[in-house]
C-alpha cells in the first residue's frame, strides 16, 4: 500500500462537540472529538452502530439533521478555514469543491428523475460563477464522460443518457464517486460507501478509491464498521465508541497490537478461518445511553479488564504501545488502576 505521499494536515478537528435534541432531552452524541487527517492519507473511522461515526462525518460538512447541532470545537480545513464558523454561502462552496462526500446507499444517492449526465453537469454548473451557457454545458458533459471513464464505467457515453434506475448498484456508486470527484476536491468523506454492495463489488470500489487517492493525492476519511475494509484500504485508523475516540494509530500497529480493550474485543469478533466451527465472538452488553450524564469510562461495563476506577473516573488519553492515542486507565501508568490484576499485555 502506498504510504503517505505529502506532508501537512488536511483536516484538523479539535474538541468537536455535537448534540442532538429530541423532545426536550438533549443527547451529547459527540462530547469532544480530536482528530487529524494528514494530506494524502486514507483514515479509517470505525465503530459499531450508534458510535457517532456518521454524525462526525456529517458534522464536518455541517449536514447534520435539523435536530442536531455543533455546540463547540473547531474543524480546520487545510490549516486555514474553520468550517464551524463559516457562513452558509462560503460553506456551500467548500462542499463539493474542497470536500466531497460519498454516501452509504448508492441506490438512493442519485435523483431518480434526472439522467446521469444532467446531474453531473448540474453539479459543475452549480459551482460556476457566471451564468451557464449551452457551450459550457457541452463541455461539462464531456468532462462527465471522462470522469465516468476514469471510475471504470464501460460505455460512459451511454451512461450519461441513462436514468439512475437503469444502472446497477455498483455502477451507481461509481457514478456517485465520479460526481464527487467532478470538482476536484482535496478531501473525500466516504460514509460506508461499500456497505450496501456485495463483496465482489466492495473489492472493486475499494481498489478504485485507492487508485483515485494515489492518482489525485486525495485525502480520504473512510467511515465504516468493517475492520477488514479498514485493513485493506486505510493508512491510519480511528476507533470510536459511544461518541468518543478510544484509540487511534497506524492500521498495522493498531490491528497487530490493540491497546484499548474495545479495539481488542472488536478485532476478536472478526471471523477467521482458524475459528471454524466455533461460535462467533461477540462483545456482551450494549452501548450506554448518551441521554444522561456519564461517569467513568464509557466502555467500562462491557470491558473484561474493568476495575472500580473505570466506573468512577474518566480515563485519560495516553500514548501506549505503537498506538498514537488510547483512552484507557489500563494504559495509564500513573493511574490507580491495579495493573497486577491484568495478566495479558
Amino acid at each position: 500500500m502506498a504510504g503517505v505521499t505529502t506532508g501537512g494536515v488536511a483536516l484538523e478537528i479539535e474538541d468537536l462537540a455535537v448534540e442532538y435534541q429530541s423532545r426536550g432531552s438533549t443527547a451529547r452524541v459527540l462530547p469532544g472529538i480530536d482528530l487529524s487527517l494528514n494530506r494524502g492519507e486514507i483514515l479509517g473511522l470505525v465503530g459499531e452502530s450508534g458510535s457517532g461515526k456518521s454524525t462526525l462525518a456529517l458534522a464536518i460538512l455541517r449536514l447534520l439533521p435539523a435536530n442536531g447541532r455543533i455546540v463547540g470545537g473547531r474543524i480546520t480545513l487545510d490549516g486555514a478555514t474553520d468550517l464551524t464558523a463559516l457562513p452558509e454561502e462560503s460553506l456551500r462552496r467548500v462542499r463539493g469543491q474542497r470536500i466531497a462526500m460519498v454516501f452509504q446507499d448508492p441506490l438512493t444517492s442519485l435523483n431518480p428523475v434526472f439522467r446521469i449526465g444532467s446531474q453531473m453537469v448540474d453539479v459543475q454548473a452549480a459551482h460556476c460563477d457566471h451564468r451557464v451557457r449551452r457551450r459550457d454545458r457541452s463541455e461539462y458533459l464531456a468532462r462527465a464522460v471522462t470522469l465516468l471513464r476514469q471510475v471504470g464505467l464501460p460505455d460512459p457515453e451511454q451512461i450519461v443518457r441513462a436514468y439512475p434506475h437503469q444502472l446497477s448498484g455498483g455502477m451507481r456508486q461509481r457514478v456517485v464517486i465520479a460526481m464527487a470527484l467532478s470538482l476536484e476536491p482535496e478531501l473525500l468523506i466516504a460514509d460506508e460507501p461499500t456497505s450496501a454492495l456485495d463483496v465482489t463489488l466492495e473489492a472493486q470500489i475499494l481498489s478504485l478509491l485507492r487508485e483515485i487517492q494515489a492518482d489525485r493525492d486525495l485525502s480520504i476519511l473512510f467511515v465504516t464498521h468493517d475492520l477488514s475494509v479498514v485493513a485493506q484500504i486505510c493508512h491510519r485508523v480511528v476507533v470510536m465508541y459511544a461518541g468518543q475516540i478510544v484509540e487511534q494509530g497506524r492500521v498495522a500497529d493498531v490491528f497487530k497490537n490493540p491497546q484499548h480493550p474495545y479495539t481488542e474485543a472488536l478485532l476478536e469478533t472478526v471471523p477467521s478461518r482458524g475459528h471454524r466451527g466455533r461460535a462467533l465472538a461477540t462483545i456482551p452488553g450494549q452501548v450506554p445511553s448518551l441521554l444522561g450524564e456519564l461517569t467513568g469510562c464509557r466502555f467500562a461495563s462491557r470491558c473484561r479488564y474493568q476495575q472500580e476506577i473505570c466506573h468512577t473516573e474518566a480515563p485519560p488519553v495516553v500514548n501506549s504501545g505503537a498506538s498514537e492515542a488510547v483512552r484507557c486507565h489500563m494504559r495509564d501508568p500513573s493511574s490507580s488502576f491495579d495493573h497486577e490484576l491484568v495478566s495479558s499485555p
Partner: protein, 314 residues
C-alpha cells in the same frame, strides 16, 4: 391451466421485448411517453374522456368561428323558442341563440377552471414547498393558513370573498384558486416531507447545492406527477364551482354567458321552455364526466402504485 401457458409474461420472446437490454435501455424513454398516451387511449374511460376533453378544448378555442350567432345578439321576436333549424338548441328569454351561448360558455368554463386550478397549483406548491422543506416557523405559518382556509366550507368562503370583491371574471378565478389551493399546499407539503428524507437530497447538499436549487431543481420534479393528477381531478370541480357561483349571480357578470347563468336564466322559464335548463345541464354534465374520466385514466398511467393493476388490463 391453458391460460398460464399461453400468457404473454412467460414467453421469453415477449420478455426480451419488455426488458430493455444494453443500449436499448436508452431508447426506452421515448417509447414510454408514447406508451403513456397509448395506455390512456386504450381504456374505454380514457378514450371517452380524451375525446370529450379534446372536443371541449376545440370548441373553446374556435368558439367564435363555430358559433352561429354572437352570444349577445338579441332577437326580441323569437324568445323562448324550442330547437329549430335557425336556432339548433332554441333561444332564451331575450331570443339569444342558446347554442352560441353554450359555446361561448365553454370558453369561460374552461378558462376559469384551467387558470384557477393552475393558480391554485402554483400557490399551493410554493407554500407547501416552503413549509415542507424549511420546516419550523415557516411550516407552522403555512399549516395554520391552510387550516384556516379549510375550516370554512368552500362555498361559504367563496361566497364571502366574491361578495367582498364583487363579481367579475378575474375575481371568480381568484376565489376559486383560493378555495382550491389548500389542497395543493397540503399535498405538496406531504410529498416534500417524504422526498426531502431521501439520501440524494443530502448528497446534493454535500455537493454544495443551495436551498433554492434543491427545492426547485431537485424536489419539484419529484413531486409534480401526483400534483398533475390532482389537477386533472380538480378541473371538473372547478367547472362546477364556476357554474355554481354564476348560477347564484356571483360569477361572470351578464351579458357574458356562463353555463351557470344560462341555467339560472332557464329556471325562470322552465315551464315555457325547458330547453335552456336541459342543454346547459347536459353541457355541464358532459364536461364534468369527461374531465373526470380523463383524470382517472391519467392517474392510472402516472401513479406508479396503481399502474398495471387497473381493471381493464385484467
Amino acid at each position: 391451466m391453458a391460460l398460464v401457458g399461453t400468457g404473454g409474461s412467460g414467453d421469453p420472446a415477449v420478455l426480451a421485448e419488455v426488458v430493455p437490454v444494453g443500449s436499448e435501455v436508452l431508447q426506452a424513454r421515448g417509447m414510454r411517453a408514447r406508451g403513456a398516451v397509448i395506455s390512456i387511449l386504450k381504456t374505454p374511460g380514457g378514450l371517452i374522456g380524451t375525446v370529450i376533453v379534446v372536443g371541449l378544448v376545440i370548441v373553446a378555442i374556435f368558439g367564435p368561428a363555430i358559433a352561429p350567432y354572437p352570444f349577445g345578439q338579441i332577437d326580441v321576436n323569437a324568445p323562448l323558442q324550442g330547437p329549430s333549424l335557425h336556432h339548433l338548441l332554441g333561444t332564451d328569454q331575450l331570443g339569444r341563440d342558446l347554442l352560441s351561448r353554450l359555446i361561448y360558455g365553454t370558453r369561460i368554463a374552461l378558462e376559469v377552471a384551467v387558470i384557477a386550478v393552475g393558480a391554485a397549483l402554483v400557490a399551493g406548491l410554493t407554500l407547501g414547498l416552503l413549509g415542507g422543506y424549511l420546516g419550523g416557523l415557516v411550516d407552522e405559518v403555512v399549516v395554520l393558513l391552510m387550516d384556516t382556509c379549510q375550516s370554512f366550507p368552500a362555498i361559504v368562503l367563496a361566497l364571502a370573498l366574491l361578495t367582498v370583491l364583487g363579481p367579475s371574471l378575474r375575481n371568480l378565478i381568484i376565489v376559486i384558486a383560493v378555495t382550491f389551493s389548500p389542497n395543493y399546499a397540503r399535498t405538496s407539503r406531504a410529498l416534500v416531507l417524504g422526498v426531502k428524507q431521501n439520501q440524494y437530497i443530502v448528497a446534493e447538499r454535500a455537493l454544495g447545492a443551495g436551498r433554492p436549487r434543491i427545492m426547485v431543481r431537485h424536489i419539484v420534479p419529484n413531486i409534480v406527477a401526483p400534483l398533475f393528477i390532482l389537477m386533472a381531478m380538480d378541473i371538473p370541480s372547478a367547472i362546477a364551482a364556476e357554474a355554481g357561483l354564476s348560477f347564484l349571480g356571483l360569477g361572470v357578470p351578464p351579458p357574458n354567458p356562463s353555463w351557470g347563468s344560462i341555467l339560472s336564466d332557464g329556471f325562470n322559464s322552465i315551464y315555457q321552455a325547458p330547453w335552456a335548463v336541459l342543454f346547459a345541464s347536459l353541457a355541464l354534465a358532459i364536461a364534468t364526466v369527461g374531465f373526470l374520466m380523463f383524470g382517472e385514466a391519467l392517474r392510472d398511467v402516472l401513479d406508479p402504485r396503481l399502474r398495471g393493476v387497473s381493471r381493464w388490463r385484467a
